[in-house]
Amino acid sequence: MNRFDYTRPASVAEAVQAGTGEQVRYLAGGTNLIDLMKENVDQPTTVIDINRLPLNAIEELDGGGLRLGALVPNSDTAWDARVEQRYPLLSSAILAGASPQLRNAATNGGNLNQRTRCYYFYDVATPCNKRKPGSGCGAIGGVNRIHAILGASDQCIATHPSDMCVALAVLDAIVQVTGPEGDRAIPIADYHRLPGDEPWRDNTLRPGELVTGIDLPAEDFTKNYTYLKLRDRLSYAFALVSIAVAMRIEGSTIAEARVALGGVAHKPWRSTEAEKLLKGQQPSPQTFSAFADALLAGAVGQCKNDFKIPLARKGIVRALKQAAEATPQSQTDKRIA
């Protein structure tokens, strides 16, 4: 770990003032940043400890939504009674991730900003365009079992590892940020980005910007929802494929359905265009399959991860069934509902 300056500002304004500069990092739970620093993947010159900033509350929004403070631990968010009752999909997705110890330390803002788990990104002896622009992508043609099947570029095939963000994508969350140029509200769909020619940029934050909270619009996806995570062991592993579904069924037809995938792309993967295939339809395996094909249109395997495409297809159909039948996946009983 390199030597760095450490500051602990007392206010958001102070933090943002200190937050400008190339190698400046905000430190929250530290469950990812500290690891990256230990392995010299990230070498900040300044670390701004934001843990004492007043961003640690979950608050009601006008219109019935909730604002999740950036510094609220993932655990507290998942187990918050309001979140559990009004956004059970979010609770479920958070509890599908990491371990209790990590969820206790990790924060909501940090979860958004966690880096990929690509093997090459973590190993400074190997090429990685995300870590070292221009050095090449080791994962292409290499060990890429856990890599992207959608939205990748010839520069980078990394995935975003979050579970929480997959649920946020479905819930149309708004990320509240503040920075040198003031406050901004970024729809979750625009927050993370695809690698393209700039794989080192995970998201659309501007230099010095700090996430202050996540707004959840008022929605009623409390009955027909699920978060189904498929992975290489039954807990404490990143998703090979995960599927978040929120659905509203009126009578016997799907009035609205939203689906996002985790573990398959550089950001939670969602297609509002494909979702139109579900709207107004009766829940059925055929409808679900047609949707899965549409959502996975353009999916490309990288050899070792080819299996993710059929796995995702089956997973999507299953998750839609779980949601339609109001039998959401339990995160404690590992039997697939």
Binding site: M1, N2, T126, R233, Y236, F238, L311, K334, I336
Partner: protein, 748 residues
């Protein structure tokens, strides 16, 4: 007089070092407090093969707190012959020598050590070192290496060449029922919880004390003395607590070499610990492919066994394991042949990992046996009984004992195997297919020459000591129970000492020989103390024991008791005072062949197990849950049923990992393991573990070892993955011949 129930061999007691471990007062190698310590951080090679052209250390040396950077260019003199580097568990070839010259033999090879006043300064400085390489063509792809597989000329100690019988080729050709295929095991890394680490205390008088993570303090002692030219008395190696090792600590790892090298060069105390990522820079279980061909008649009687295997080794040592012998030993079949070869890849030398050879070769063989049972339309358990061999079928020798039949019976009963429906895909519940599978496990019952001492003081306290190790296996508790049993003292009055090169000689702990060997030595030493006690009692006025001989007395509650007249009791303290003794200290050596062991001289000595597994597999998605395991173990006498059960549970959990999770992925272009961290190298977690039942089958065996103990360290893993693989087939109808069975292989 009312006496408490005697605690001794067979008593289920808590681990005597449990409190120290759970409260953190047990110090591990990298934790021992030493003043004025320097911290070393290892710089690893980024390439798999080639040479170091230059090392730019300037930026590293400029980091505040950095004291030295050691490379092959500035290291102090070390031994230069292969012979000097050969450790207790040496493998034929040319042992790896850290920082010896500019040659790079594998990726992650240590090529420099940065020493600094803090660990973080050393680690950061290490990242600033720029190394220029000359690369050479490498190969880490085992499948490519198979083209040049070979039989090593010089065999590794302990290697058992397979013995053919009958004409297996012809018998296979003639067999009405056949199974043939290639079965595979991925490379695995040991990954004990405790990382490798060494703390070297520099005393300033030319002597050093080394706390090392190792399975054998005396093995490391001999290695360091040989490599660095220490006189044996100037060197002491300690490993009182070891946080697991699974075989990775059988040979001295490079951090102990580097720590001692630095201490010697800088004349300071030094600590070198590996990170989790660096735990992938040395030992691993070899990758394996096993070509198995089985022939049977229509009744399910085996007629042919052909068993050929290749495992991976390095370019510089020929690591050999006993992979192909197990199937030939265990099954009654008139025709059998086998072949074993190794193939070189540019990695560190592969190493023994829990049940080396058997965990690979017996497990894969047991998958093939299951296939044969289905081909013969015989219940897999029945198939094993039809082909049961009461003798070692490869060597034609009887076993000292083999209660595998009883293990099958008790295990099947506990599992309710009789309720199994025979057809694959015939059991289901909701969206899950249910499968039941079974397998046989097998390991050697080994014994190794070991010494121990016992010291009784007049206040009734007994200290037993032996240089063996406790790598989480329960050695402290075993020694305590054997001593309690022999001298009739409560465990609270006994202290067991181990993990110190100054103690009576013991081999490296491995191969499941620890309890049998150190237990026998402790018993002998305690018996010698008993004899001295009896002699001392003879000095008591009036000779209350009336000249009784050792066979006339027993030791109970701290007293010598006449067997015939149990009311005659002489407290140990009375006897010692009468003879004017403040303490009695005896040392004894247990060597193979004493006691009833001579009768077993020409017999085969093995542990066996019957493993039953239930899996539930989501039919659409291929997600596997191992919901039930019953492991019935025939391992002779059980010293402590509680820690013994833990041993088996650990082995079974590791077997679940072998079946479903563990695999180290190599990028063959880079010649480098890529998932070298605990996030991406998967071992089972709590959610993967359900009901595991351990049964110890009664198996008295006075011939196998002096205490009748066969050892338990390995047997829990052998065959477990096969039982699971076989259950997955039963559930899904999909036969996967390659471990681990990940979701993609089931969906394929």
């Amino acid at each position: 007089m009312a006496t408490a129930a005697k605690i001794g061999i067979g008593s289920a007691i808590n681990r005597v070092d449990g409190v120290e471990k759970v409260t953190g007062s047990a110090r591990y190698a990298g934790e021992h407090p030493v003043e004025n310590l320097l911290y070393g951080y290892i710089v690893e090679a980024a390439i798999a093969k080639g040479r170091v052209l230059s090392v730019d250390e300037d930026a590293a040396r400029a980091v505040p707190g950095v004291v030295e950077v050691i490379t092959h260019l500035n290291r102090p003199h070390v031994a230069w012959t292969d012979h000097s580097y050969q450790d207790e568990m040496k493998i034929p070839g040319s042992p790896f020598r850290p920082l010896y010259d500019d040659r790079i033999q594998f990726s992650q090879q240590p090529i420099a050590l940065v020493l600094a006043e803090t660990f973080e300064a050393a680690r950061y400085a290490a990242s600033l070192i720029e190394i220029a390489y000359e690369t050479e063509a490498h190969n880490t792809d085992f499948d490519v290496a198979l083209d040049e597989k070979y039989v090593p000329k010089k065999k590794r100690s302990g290697y058992v060449p397979p013995k053919d019988r009958g004409d297996a080729a012809q018998a296979f050709a003639d067999a009405p029922l056949k199974v043939a295929g290639d079965y595979r095991l991925a490379p695995e890394h040991h990954n004990p919880m405790e990382m490798f680490g060494s703390t070297v205390e520099w005393h300033g008088d030319g002597s050093i004390t080394v706390w090392d993570k190792t399975q054998g303090s005396q093995g490391v002692h001999a290695y360091l003395a040989s490599v660095f030219g220490f006189s044996k008395k100037k060197l002491r190696v300690l490993n009182p607590y070891v946080g697991g090792a699974f075989g990775s600590g059988l040979r001295p790892q490079h951090q102990v070499f580097l720590a001692v090298l630095a201490a010697k060069m800088l004349e300071r105390s030094v600590r070198v610990t590996m990170t989790r990522q660096q735990m992938f820079s040395h030992a691993y279980r070899p990758q394996a492919v096993q070509s198995i061909a089985l022939g049977a008649d229509r009744t399910g009687k085996l007629t042919a066994i052909r068993n050929a295997a290749t495992t991976s080794t390095s370019r510089y040592e020929d690591n050999m394991e006993n992979v192909v012998t197990w199937g030939l030993m265990n099954y009654d079949c008139p025709n059998a042949d086998a072949e074993y070869t190794v193939a070189q890849i540019d990695t560190p030398t592969s190493a023994d990992m829990r049940a080396p050879g058997a965990a690979t070769g017996m497990t894969l063989f047991e998958i093939a046996i299951d296939e044969m049972a289905y081909a013969a339309k015989v219940d897999p358990l029945e198939f094993r009984l039809i082909n049961y061999s009461p003798i070692d079928a490869m060597n034609g020798t009887p076993y000292t004992s083999k209660a595998l039949r009883e293990a099958f019976r008790e295990g099947a009963e506990a599992f309710k195997w009789s309720e199994r429906s025979a057809e694959p895909r015939s059991m289901r519940e909701g969206s899950e297919l249910i499968g039941w599978g079974c397998a046989t496990g097998m390991w050697d019952a080994q014994f190794s020459k070991t010494s121990a001492s016992a010291k009784l003081t007049a206040n009734g306290h007994l200290e037993v000591a032996c240089a063996t190790s406790d790598i989480g296996t329960g050695s402290y508790t075993v020694m305590t129970l054997v001593a309690a049993d022999t001298l009739g003292l409560p465990p609270e009055q006994i202290t067991a000492k181990l993990g110190d090169s100054d103690l009576p000689t013991a081999p490296v702990e491995g191969g499941s020989w620890g309890a049998a060997s150190s237990g026998a030595a402790v018993q002998l030493a305690c018996q010698a103390v008993g004899k001295k006690l009896l002699k001392a009692a003879g000095k008591i006025a009036g000779e209350p024991l009336g000249g009784a001989k050792i066979e006339d007395v027993l030791f109970e509650d701290g007293c010598i008791v006449l067997k015939d007249t149990p009311t005659v009791r002489v407290p140990f303290g009375d006897a010692m005072r009468a003879a004017d003794l403040t303490e009695i200290e005896e040392e004894a050596t247990a060597a193979p062949g004493f006691g009833d062991m001579w009768k077993g001289l020409h017999k085969s000595k093995n542990t066996h197990s019957a493993i039953f597994a239930e899996v539930r597999v989501d039919e659409e998605l291929g997600v596997v849950r191992v919901t039930r395991i019953v492991d019935a173990v025939a391992a002779g006498r059980i010293i402590n049923p509680k820690t013994a059960r833990s041993q088996i549970l650990g082995g079974v959990v590791m077997g679940i990992g072998m079946a479903l999770h563990e695999e180290t992925f190599s990028d063959h272009r880079l010649g480098r393991w890529m998932n070298h961290n605990f996030g991406e190298y998967h071992v089972p977690v709590h959610a993967d573990i359900h009901d595991i039942q351990v049964i110890f089958v009664d198996e008295p065996d006075p011939e196998v070892t002096p205490l009748g103990v066969k050892g338990l360290g390995e047997i829990g893993i052998v065959g477990t993955a096969a039982a699971i693989a076989n259950a997955i087939y039963h559930a899904t109808g999909k036969r996967v011949r390659s471990l681990p069975i990940t979701i993609d292989k089931i969906l394929e």
